[in-house]
C-alpha cells in the first residue's frame, strides 16, 4: 500500500512541476521580444540586439531562418512579435492575412555579393563560372529566399543561367549558402555582403559586390505582428529598427539605407 501512496505523491509532483515552472517563467517571458529574422540578418541582428539592450534594457530573442519558413510559422500561430524579412512580399502576405498590426515598412536594402574561400579572382566572374575550375555554385533556394531570387536574376541578366544549372546547388536559406562557401564545399556562392563582415576574423573570404543594376533591389521589409501589439518592448524595437542608430549598424554590414 505504501508504495502506491508514494506513487500518487510522485505523480502529483510530476504533474504539477511543469505548471509551476511555467508560472514562474511567464512574468519573465512577458518582457522579452521575440523577433523572427530572415537568414541574411544572422550576424547584424546580434549587434542590433546588444545595442537595443544597452539603450532600453529590453531583451530580444531573435529566431533566424529563411523568410518563407518564418512566414509559414507565423501563419500557423508562432508567437513572434516582430518580423524582419528579406523582402517586401512576405510581410505583405502576413499583413493581408491579418497577422500584422501595421503595413510593412522598408528598413534596409540588401547587397548581393559573389564570394569564395579561395582567391580565384572575380574580375571576369561570369566567364569564370563557366570554367572547369568552378565545380559548384551555391545559391539560396530562389523560391523561398529573396537573395537566391536575386542571384538567379543576375545569372539570367548575364545570360549564363542555363549553362551553370548543372553546377548549381541550393541552400535552404542564405545561411546554408554561407556554410557552403566558408567550408569550401562550394567553390563560389551568391550571398549577402554582411557575411564578409561576420566572417572577417574567422576565415579569409574573397568577394565582389554585384552591381545592383543586375537584379531587382532587395527591399527588406518589417512588420509588427499581432502577437506583439500588447508588448511595449515590441513597439520600441520596431521604432528602434527605423532609427538612425540601427541604420548606421545596417550600413556597416553592407546594407544600403534609403
Amino acid at each position: 500500500m505504501e508504495h502506491i501512496e508514494y506513487h500518487n505523491k510522485l505523480f502529483k509532483y510530476i504533474f504539477f512541476l511543469p505548471a509551476i515552472c511555467l508560472f514562474t517563467y511567464l512574468p519573465v517571458a512577458a518582457q522579452n521580444v521575440r523577433v523572427a529574422a530572415a537568414a541574411n540578418l544572422q550576424s547584424v541582428i546580434e549587434v542590433l540586439q546588444k545595442d537595443f539592450k544597452q539603450k532600453t534594457g529590453i531583451n530580444i530573442e531573435p529566431v533566424v531562418g529563411s523568410s518563407g519558413k518564418l512566414v509559414a510559422q507565423i501563419s500557423n500561430g508562432a508567437p513572434f512579435d516582430v518580423f524582419l524579412s528579406a523582402d517586401m512580399s512576405f510581410p505583405e502576405t502576413l499583413f493581408k492575412g491579418g497577422f500584422a498590426a501595421k503595413q510593412p515598412v522598408e528598413y534596409a536594402r540588401g547587397s548581393l555579393i559573389i564570394c569564395s574561400s579561395q582567391n580565384i579572382g572575380f574580375e571576369n566572374w561570369e566567364r569564370m563560372l563557366l570554367t572547369a575550375r568552378v565545380k559548384k555554385i551555391a545559391i539560396a533556394n530562389p523560391a523561398i529566399a529573396p537573395y537566391g531570387k536575386a542571384a538567379e536574376e543576375v545569372l539570367k541578366y548575364k545570360g549564363i543561367l542555363d549553362e551553370v544549372k548543372s553546377k548549381t546547388v541550393y541552400g535552404e536559406s542564405i545561411s546554408q549558402v554561407n556554410t557552403y562557401v566558408t567550408t569550401g564545399v562550394a567553390d563560389v556562392g551568391f550571398t549577402t555582403q554582411s557575411l564578409v563582415k561576420e566572417a572577417g576574423s574567422k576565415t579569409d573570404l574573397y568577394y565582389k559586390v554585384i552591381d545592383p543594376k543586375y537584379y531587382k533591389p532587395i527591399l527588406q521589409g518589417m512588420v509588427l505582428l499581432k502577437h506583439g501589439i500588447d508588448n511595449r518592448g515590441a513597439e520600441r524595437f520596431y521604432q528602434y529598427i527605423l532609427s538612425p542608430a540601427a541604420k548606421s549598424i545596417f550600413a556597416s554590414y553592407g546594407y544600403r539605407i534609403q
Binding site: 512566414v71 509559414a72 533556394n141
Partner: protein, 223 residues
C-alpha cells in the same frame, strides 16, 4: 506532380541496402563471434547513428567531404571525385546512417543460434565460410529479411544528413524527404501531402510485411 524525388529515394534506398547487405552481413558475423574490447568499440561506433542527431553526422560528413582539406581534398585531387552535393555522397552517408539496422538484427540472430549447429558442420569437414553460407545464414532468414527491410525503410526516412550535404539538386540529391520539406517551405501543401502520402504508404506496407512475416517467429521486428 514531379515524381523524380520518389524514384531517387527508392534508388538511394535500394543501392544502400544492397551495399549494406554485402558489407554488413560478414561484419555482423565477425562481431557475433567472441567479445574483445576492440569489437565492443567497433560495435559502439557502428551503433552511433542510432543515437546521434543526423545533423551531427551531416556536419562531420560536410567537413570530411570538403575539397579543401583531408579526405575530400585527396579524393578531389586524385580521382576528381566530389562527394558533397552528389548522389554517391548520399549513398556513402546512407550506408553509415543505416548500418546499425543491417548489423543489429543479423548479429543478434547469429548469436542466438545453438553452437552445436556450427560445430556439427565443422565435424563434417566444412570450412568456416561454407558453414556460414550453407548452415548459419539459412537458419536466420527472418532476421535477414528484417535487416534488409529496416535498412531500406530507414534510408527512405533519411532527412537531416541529406539536408546538410545534399544541396537540394533536382534529380541528383532532392530525395522525397527533402521534397516534402521544400514543398512546405514554399507553402505548396498539395505537393507536400502527395510526397508524404507516398512515403507513408511505402514504409507502412514494408513494416506490415515484416510483422506478418515474423508472426510465427514470436519476436518483435527489432529483436
Amino acid at each position: 506532380m514531379d515524381l523524380s524525388p520518389i524514384w531517387l529515394t527508392l534508388k538511394l534506398a535500394g543501392i544502400t541496402t544492397a551495399l549494406l547487405f554485402i558489407v554488413g552481413i560478414p561484419f555482423a558475423w565477425w562481431l557475433s563471434g567472441g567479445r574483445s574490447f576492440f569489437k565492443i568499440v567497433v560495435e559502439a561506433i557502428i551503433t552511433m547513428p542510432l543515437v546521434l542527431p543526423p545533423s551531427v553526422l551531416g556536419f562531420y560528413l560536410l567537413l570530411a567531404f570538403s575539397p579543401q582539406h583531408g579526405l575530400g581534398k585527396w579524393l578531389h585531387d586524385s580521382f576528381d571525385v566530389q562527394l558533397v552535393f552528389s548522389f554517391p555522397g548520399l549513398v556513402l552517408a546512407s550506408v553509415i546512417y543505416s548500418m546499425p539496422f543491417m548489423i543489429g538484427p543479423v548479429k543478434s540472430a547469429l548469436q542466438q543460434l545453438p553452437a552445436a549447429l556450427a560445430e556439427a558442420s565443422y565435424t563434417l569437414g566444412k570450412s568456416r565460410w561454407q558453414t556460414f553460407k550453407s548452415v548459419l545464414l539459412p537458419n536466420i532468414k527472418p532476421s535477414l529479411l528484417t535487416a534488409v527491410v529496416l535498412s531500406f525503410a530507414h534510408t527512405l526516412g533519411e532527412f537531416g544528413v541529406v539536408l546538410m550535404i545534399g544541396g537540394n539538386i533536382p534529380g541528383v540529391t532532392r530525395v522525397a524527404s527533402i521534397a516534402v520539406y521544400d514543398a512546405v517551405e514554399k507553402m505548396d501543401y498539395t505537393s507536400a501531402n502527395n510526397y508524404s502520402l507516398i512515403l507513408f504508404s511505402i514504409t507502412f506496407v514494408m513494416v506490415i510485411a515484416i510483422f506478418v512475416f515474423n508472426k510465427y517467429q514470436a519476436k518483435s521486428p527489432l529483436g
